[in-house]
Symmetry: C2
Subunit: 180 residues, 2 copies
DNA sequence: GCATGACTGGACCATTCGGTCTAGCCCCTG
DNA sequence: CAGGGGCTAGACCGAATGGTCCAGTCATGC
């Protein structure tokens, strides 16, 4: 694993757990066993650069999970249910999946529009990917957009609430709320 | 307005906009025109004490909005729709309503269980209050719990996404997703 | 074998962080 | 008027922050 990848991996994990501002460079450097010079070589703009790269990395993981969930699904509801169960399991097993992989970035938006635009793009990617699976599974075209939106909306909300609650149950209950 | 209230009001606003770790004491002190000594007189435990008080204050505001929305509603759907429109309007008008009033606290949970428990309690308060209105409006008892949960789940998610998107449209669209 | 450039290692910097401490103001009561 | 407590005011602290800088290392090209 290259120095750069090690930095991204560690940063993604820590930002997810503690938030952008809650994670210091020193902690990232220490856990990834990297000196400061290397960070600023690979990410000239420092922390913010690293955060964008980490968000992209985390988004890839989420897209992969969406794909995996819908890959063998018989219909949209089946895929959505699998997705929620997978996310619930990740919540239980990994500290760094106890929350939206990218929302920690949002708290910089007031002063950093680049972050806002970037997270907007990532959310759109998730939505587009989910719609693509719905279409592939012959889900009614006129409801595709809004029903996938409701699914992602609830996943997003469930990440917050399950984190507060300390339990992933509410994530697994999402499929019940969908009008499928 | 007392010094204490001024501190809570300012802190609540700044924490909502920038997150807990993203807001320094110096900024709160400066904007509220308060010296440091006063803060530590009213909140002996400092920043964390202040954050809990600010979260309570913000939660009261949310509960008030829930009450206002359902007060004159003819049925649950009507009230839920009003609630979403009110939140959308707040998003448009006030920077500090561009996100969940209390979720910034969540990012401390890994190391601070007090924050986690507190936000859990606040979410439960919102849920309970919404259920109470649903019951009062003769919403089917067996669906009360899960349908109010879906509503709050989507509001929570919509706060994140509308923030990234820079638009409150998705908040106003929530009622469409509900099976009412 | 030597020069070059990508990369590492870490000392060092100014600034800001949350928090402590004490001097004094102001109002209330005796 | 005297005394005392609630509160204000801000100097001060050590630690940690993000960021800069450069000497040193190493593989690769000539």
């Amino acid at each position: 694993m290259s120095t750069k990848d090690r930095l991204i991996d560690t940063a993604a994990r820590l930002f997810r757990e503690q938030g952008y501002h809650g994670t210091g460079l020193s902690e990232i450097l220490k856990q990834s066993q990297t000196p400061k010079g290397s960070l600023y070589h690979h990410f000239p703009k420092g922390k913010s650069d690293l955060a964008l790269a980490a968000a992209d990395w985390a988004s890839k993981g989420m897209l992969q999970i969406i794909d995996d969930s819908f890959a063998q699904a018989v219909d949209f509801k089946d895929g959505a249910t699998t997705l929620c169960y997978k996310l619930g399991k990740l919540f239980d097993l990994h500290k760094d999946w106890r929350g939206c992989p990218i929302s920690s970035m949002l708290f910089d938006q007031e002063t950093n529009d680049e972050f806002r635009v970037h997270s907007d793009k990532i959310y759109n990617d998730w939505h587009a990917r989910t719609i693509a699976h719905a279409v592939r599974l012959n889900y009614p075209t006129e409801r595709c957009n809004e029903d996938t939106e409701a699914l992602l909306l609830m996943i997003q909300g469930a990440w917050s609430i399950s984190r507060a609650r300390g339990s992933a149950d509410i994530i697994r209950k999402i499929p019940q709320h969908l009008t499928l």
